[in-house]
């Protein structure tokens, strides 16, 4: 009887190991394919040239790379004040029913599908302006970025020891100066981490840009017109029937993945440094 149980135990653990292998295979395949297909299509032109029309080979996605940065920049301008100030509220004054409900709703907001924020940005910006624009894309990304920034700001400010606040207040520094100059300053590394996570997420979003920022094969001249983004180009090129375009879609996927990889390594580095200080 014990033998049977022993065998069963080993067999079930073997199943666990098998599931690890099964889970790893597709993920490694995705990395491998993106790296190998991406690198063969990647060259300097990709970063410096405009997209070429159908039938002409070469060209690059320079405008899309800049476009993604601009869209994320607009998203940051809108989401940073809201995210950081509401995070400060939740951390410093939010120990009440209102704070709890805002915290809960922020969590709920972080689960809203990105395509839905695109629809909201469409009804909010595109319909009144009557055309697609970089602003609309930025609004959609900002809605996605707010919850991450709010919650990390709150969590990071809460880690600052209470004695810091007491010491500052005892020295006669007013509460708001204490919060901004001491508490926020001390937790700045963590807050920046949250912002970078939000940026990484926003930079990889496609769905909310499809019908807000749309796409643009040329350089944009103003922000109230459609603008290119790396992700939308990857999508359009990926589903196209042209080999040149498909190759560039892989290259775009690789560049996007490397951008996000760099960001998350930077985040790792920042947090590790903070832990060492403590």
């Amino acid at each position: 009887m014990f033998r049977y149980r022993k065998i069963k135990s080993t067999a079930l653990y073997a199943l666990c190991v098998a599931s690890v292998l099964l889970a790893l295979i597709p993920l490694l395949l995705i990395f491998y394919r993106t790296l190998s297909f991406g690198f063969t299509a990647l060259n300097l032109d990709f970063f410096t040239q405009l997209p070429k029309p159908v039938g002409e080979s070469g060209g690059g996605l320079a405008n899309a790379i800049v476009g993604t940065m601009i869209l994320v920049g607009i998203g940051c301008c809108l989401s940073l004040p809201v995210g950081i100030l509401s995070g400060i509220y939740l951390s410093e004054y939010g120990q009440n029913v209102f704070g709890t409900s805002v915290r809960f709703l922020t969590d709920v907001l972080s689960g809203v599908p990105s395509i839905v924020t695109g629809v909201v940005a469409y009804t909010l910006v595109v319909i009144p302006m009557k055309h697609f624009s970089a602003y609309a894309g930025g609004v959609a990304l900002a809605i996605l970025m707010i919850p991450t920034i709010t919650r990390t700001t709150e969590e990071m400010m809460k880690t600052v020891p209470h004695s810091y606040r007491e010491a500052a207040l005892a020295l006669g520094i007013s509460e708001w100066k204490t919060t901004l100059r001491i508490i926020l300053r001390t937790s700045l590394g963590g807050v920046v981490t949250g912002v970078m996570l939000a940026i990484a997420r926003a930079a990889g979003e496609t769905a909310p840009l499809l019908f807000t920022a749309l796409n643009n094969r040329f350089w944009h001249t103003t922000l109230d017109q459609p603008i290119a983004s790396l992700t939308v180009f990857i999508y359009n090129y990926g589903v196209s029937p042209f080999d040149d375009w498909i190759a560039q879609a892989w290259a775009g996927a690789l560049v996007l993945m490397l951008m996000i990889l760099l960001l998350s390594i930077a985040v790792r580095f920042a947090t590790r440094k903070r832990y060492h200080e403590h």
Binding site: Y13, C16, S19, L27, S86, F98, F104, L105, Y235
Partner: protein, 310 residues
């Protein structure tokens, strides 16, 4: 003493300023619902509740019903969970019980990295690598051996419900696995030690831990579900985009998120746009319910654990 009143004044302003921005988040959610409701008003008025149960989608005749999309979203999510949950629990057990300690940091970094891969990259990979493989290998194999089940019958298109479910399961596996691992790690050692001391095998000790962690794993699963329901790009590229309800998982289907991605820019009439926004509203409401439920579950579990630890 004037300085005191001045600083108090500053404090009041600052406090109210931050409160205003916190209130803005609350307002934002209400506003999002209102905006979508306003834009979809003509569709809601015309079709009423039958919008959810009709399966016509005909922009030419201006007849709209969301059933095929709701069905597609629910079934592709179900397929994803059926594949991902057992595997994630296996991975979580491996990481919490069997893996050496030095593996922990690289694994958590890897998981973070995977969670950061944009959905479009999964989509491109799924479109060019997974779909052809499903068409030539997996689906013929399934229909040969399991063809007696209606789910695995029919022509292997490659694109379809099954492919969507598989790519979604790949996407959420790291998330469910990492939360489940944290939950399993939080099981008090005493529980497992007691099982081992009573002569249980290692697996039997693990099972005690599993039953202890059940609600946490449940919460992780529902969080995964919340993410899967709204996943757009990867699904749009592999599901085939055909608004039809069919018994076979091999057949092309459509989800709420992918119909928005594909048809929003083509919505030429007000009614068409209104119907699409109503789909977004339905999706929004479903994900809010699912996410609220998951959050409440996770909150109650952590609160209970904290209380138990004292």
């Amino acid at each position: 003493m004037t300085s005191t009143t001045q600083t108090n004044y500053g404090d009041t302003i600052f406090r109210n300023l931050t409160r205003a921005f916190a209130f803005l988040i609350l307002l934002l959610i209400v506003f999002m619902v209102y905006e979508m409701y306003r834009t979809s008003a003509s569709s809601i008025e015309k079709f009423g509740w039958s919008f959810l149960t009709r399966s016509v989608w005909d922009p030419v005749q201006e007849e709209y019903g969301a059933l095929p999309f709701i069905y597609g979203t629910l079934v592709s999510s179900a397929v994803a969970l059926v594949i991902a949950v057992p595997l994630s629990v296996g991975v979580a057990i491996f990481l919490s019980e069997l893996a050496p300690a030095w593996l922990e940091r690289p694994v958590s970094f890897f998981v973070e990295l995977l969670a950061g891969i944009p959905s479009i990259v999964y989509g491109v990979w799924g479109f060019f690598v997974m779909v052809p493989w499903m068409r030539t290998t997996v689906e013929p194999l399934l229909s040969d051996h399991l063809g007696f089940i209606p789910l695995f019958r029919g022509a292997p298109y490659g694109v379809g419900m099954l492919s969507a479910g598989v790519i979604l399961s790949i996407m959420i596996l790291p998330i469910i696995a990492s939360i489940s691992r944290d939950v399993l790690k939080a099981v008090p050692r005493v529980q497992k030690e007691a099982a081992l001391a009573l002569g249980g095998t290692r697996w039997e000790a693990t099972r005690i831990g599993l039953s202890y962690a059940r609600s946490g794993i449940m919460g992780a699963t529902i969080l995964g579900l919340g993410r899967v329901l709204g996943e757009t790009m990867a699904v749009t590229m592999v599901i085939g985009n055909r608004p039809a309800i069919s018994a076979s998982l091999f057949d092309p289907a459509y989800t709420m998120a992918s119909v928005l991605a594909n048809e929003f820019t083509e919505a030429t009439t007000d009614m068409y746009l209104s119907a699409l926004v109503e789909i977004a509203l339905v999706l929004f409401v479903i994900t809010i319910i699912v996410n609220s439920f998951a959050r409440l579950l996770v909150w109650s579990v952590t609160r209970k654990n904290q209380a138990g630890r004292v």
